[in-house]
């Protein structure tokens, strides 16, 4: 177990700048998710930590130890791959034994550690099977067990749930998180699925085009996004363009084409901004902030009703309302939302 430090990492492929000044400190036992659209550099970052990719500039440290130029086999980490990458010519037990044999663990201890970890992932009776004889979810747990049985300092997971079907994926989220907390291992998890990152992580690192857009607890990322990209990528959001006129009790007073809005935000903002409102914070009655518009589309979704509203300026707002509201296209509506649930983002 250790801390993990990425100290201004840069990576070039030829002239392509893949990672730009990635700076990250991961605490002991912390679960960090690297989240972002494909091509954002999250997998490359993970491969740099694993040592499969060299970095052009910067340092990688496990605890105090500089790992920048250490070969992957000497980094003492456990890695779970998207494809599971189990050894097809070895049984489950032999897959787990592989890393222990490299470490010259005596046979008796190997056997007891394998048994213990297989119990942990609930695969005790499968030790003699070959990977091809297991389901996707079982293979996934073998991959996890193989990475954990060597008791590594750091656990790296590269989209481990991407190949599982939806219901299994939900179970595995909690399973992995629970296991990680029991073992207490420092973990870096790469995913493009925001809800996965949200429920599993201590902190989420949102990446875009090789840059860290924001790093923070799931609640920070969701409620107080640092940029438009983060607001758009995590959950549904409505953003209304405007201009800061002054301060207000909640934080800022923003002038928009559809009227003034009170909103919270980080210090030091001025000029052109956007006000972000999550659909679930919008009520169908006037509130601290009020907007009026016309319904353009109303889509019945069972539990609720998705409502698309056009404001007089032409901006669109999406919200969900109780299915009891029977609104149809063209109806006028009033939307209200609290100032502290409105968030100002630099445009």
């Amino acid at each position: 177990m250790t801390t993990l430090t990425l100290d201004r990492i840069n990576k070039f492929y030829g002239t392509l700048h893949i990672l730009k000044d990635i700076d990250l400190k991961i605490g002991q036992g912390e679960f960090i998710s690297l989240l972002g659209p494909s091509g954002c550099g999250k997998t490359t970052t993970l491969r740099c930590i694993a040592g499969f990719e060299s970095i052009s500039d910067g340092r990688i440290r496990f605890g105090e130890r500089d790992m920048t130029n250490v070969l992957p086999e000497h980094r003492d980490l456990g890695m779970v791959f998207q494809s599971y990458a189990l050894f097809p010519h070895m049984t489950v037990a032999e897959n787990l034994s592989f890393g222990l044999e490299v470490r010259k663990v005596p046979a008796a201890e190997r056997a007891s550690r394998i048994t213990r970890v297989l119990e942990m992932v609930k695969l005790g009776e499968f030790s003699g099977r070959y990977p091809r004889e297991l389901s996707g979810g079982q293979q996934q747990r073998v991959a996890l067990a193989r990475a954990l049985v060597i008791e590594p300092q750091v656990l790296l997971l590269d989209e481990p749930l991407a190949n599982l079907d939806a219901s299994l994926r939900d179970d595995m989220r909690f399973f992995i998180r629970d296991l990680q907390q029991r073992v207490g291992i420092t973990t870096v998890y790469v995913t493009h699925d925001q809800s996965e990152a949200m429920v599993m992580s201590d902190r989420i690192v949102v990446m875009n085009r090789g840059v860290i857009e924001q790093c923070g607890a799931p609640r920070d990322i969701y409620e107080r996004p640092a940029s438009l990209m983060v607001a758009d990528f995590i959950g549904h959001s409505n953003t209304i363009p405007g201009q800061i006129r002054g301060r207000s009790e909640a934080g800022y007073l923003v002038d928009t084409a559809d009227g003034p809005l009170h909103a919270a935000g980080t210090e030091g903002l001025s000029g052109e901004v956007r006000v972000m409102i999550r659909p679930e914070n919008i009520d169908m009655a006037s509130g601290e902030n009020t907007l009026t518009g016309r319904v353009t589309k109303s889509i019945y979704q069972g539990e609720d009703c998705l409502l698309m509203v056009e404001l007089p300026s032409g901006a669109g707002v999406t919200t969900s309302v109780s299915a009891d509201f029977s609104l149809s296209a063209g109806d006028p509506v009033t939307l209200g939302f609290p100032a502290r649930k409105s968030w100002v983002i630099a445009a």
Binding site: L77, F87, F98, V102, Y130, R146, A147
Partner: protein, 297 residues
């Protein structure tokens, strides 16, 4: 109750569900029986015929030709030489070809298609033309000896033409693609993350190769080496043109029996003997490699 199948509308039980059409293999079957099996049968029969000075073979049947072969130390010498040479060619092509196949399977470089063409280049030139080129290269005042003397490695030209060594070198060149191509297909099918997983578990490159990559590439090794071994044993043009008497192989000897000495029954027996020997080696090899592959999917 009437048959359920009869009740299924035509559209559902449609053409896709019909049994495979046996006559589609007919053309290949005719070719195989007419041009491979029948000639083989006639050679087997011929090998048991008595020798004749007036016709291709005589009236009666005999096993004398086989007895002559297995009791002749001269023939055993050539059998052994042929097998040894085929083994050397097989091992050498494997050792030379594996790294090339591995590189081709893993590289993402655009230059790789150029390398691919280089790999199959020995097959792009006609056999006889290519062998003539080797004659020029291997002769006493050829390029190979020029380079060796020029570098000061030898004082006077090494005899390469009309030796086993010359034949071996030329065969390795021709048969390299036959080991690279099956290996390439095999290596490409191996998930590259498996090797990375091995490294992440603490195994060095070397250990990863011997414990993971090599066992998983056994099917490619098996296919490639059998191809090269069988082709080397039966090669005729290369040893005939480059081997002289010192590099004479079984295939050359068989043709000598048939064409030069006009001993058709004895030559046929020699050919059958050689085919059976090759078959025996291949069967043993298959059994051994199957053991190494028993854990693969």
């Amino acid at each position: 109750m009437s048959s359920v199948a009869a009740q299924i509308p035509r559209a559902i039980s449609g053409p896709k569900h019909r049994a495979p059409v046996w006559w589609m293999i007919l053309p290949a079957l005719v070719l195989l029986v007419g041009f491979l099996i029948l000639p083989y049968v006639s050679i087997v029969i011929m090998s048991f015929r008595e020798a004749s000075t007036r016709a291709v073979y005589g009236e009666g049947f005999t096993i004398a030709h086989y007895r002559d072969i297995v009791t002749d130390p001269f023939i055993w010498g050539i059998v052994w030489r042929t097998i040894r040479m085929a083994l050397i060619v097989t091992v050498a092509t494997l050792l030379l070809g594996y790294p090339v196949a591995y590189h081709l399977a893993r590289t993402r470089s655009r230059m790789s298609s150029l390398l691919y063409i280089c790999v199959i280049s020995p097959l792009l030139v006609g056999l006889v033309v290519r062998t003539f080129a080797w004659m020029i290269i291997l002769s006493n005042n050829g390029i190979a000896n020029g380079a060796l003397t020029g570098l000061g490695l030898v004082d006077r030209p090494v005899q390469l033409l009309n030796t086993q060594l010359g034949v071996t070198i030329a065969l390795i060149h021709v048969f390299l693609p036959f080991v690279i191509l099956p290996l390439l297909g095999n290596l490409q099918a191996i998930n590259p993350e498996v090797a990375l997983a091995s490294r992440s578990l603490g195994a060095s490159r070397m250990r990863t190769f011997f414990k993971v990559t090599l066992p998983l590439s056994m099917p490619g090794i098996q296919a490639g080496s059998i191809l090269v071994f069988v082709l080397s044993i039966s090669a005729y043009v290369t040893p005939a043109m480059l081997g002289g008497t010192q590099g004479r192989t079984m295939a050359v000897l068989v043709v000598q029996y048939l064409v030069d000495n006009f001993r058709w029954p004895a030559g046929a027996a020699l050919a059958i003997f050689m085919a059976l020997t090759t078959l025996a080696i291949v069967v043993v090899y298959l059994a051994l490699t199957a053991r190494a592959m028993r854990r693969l999917p």
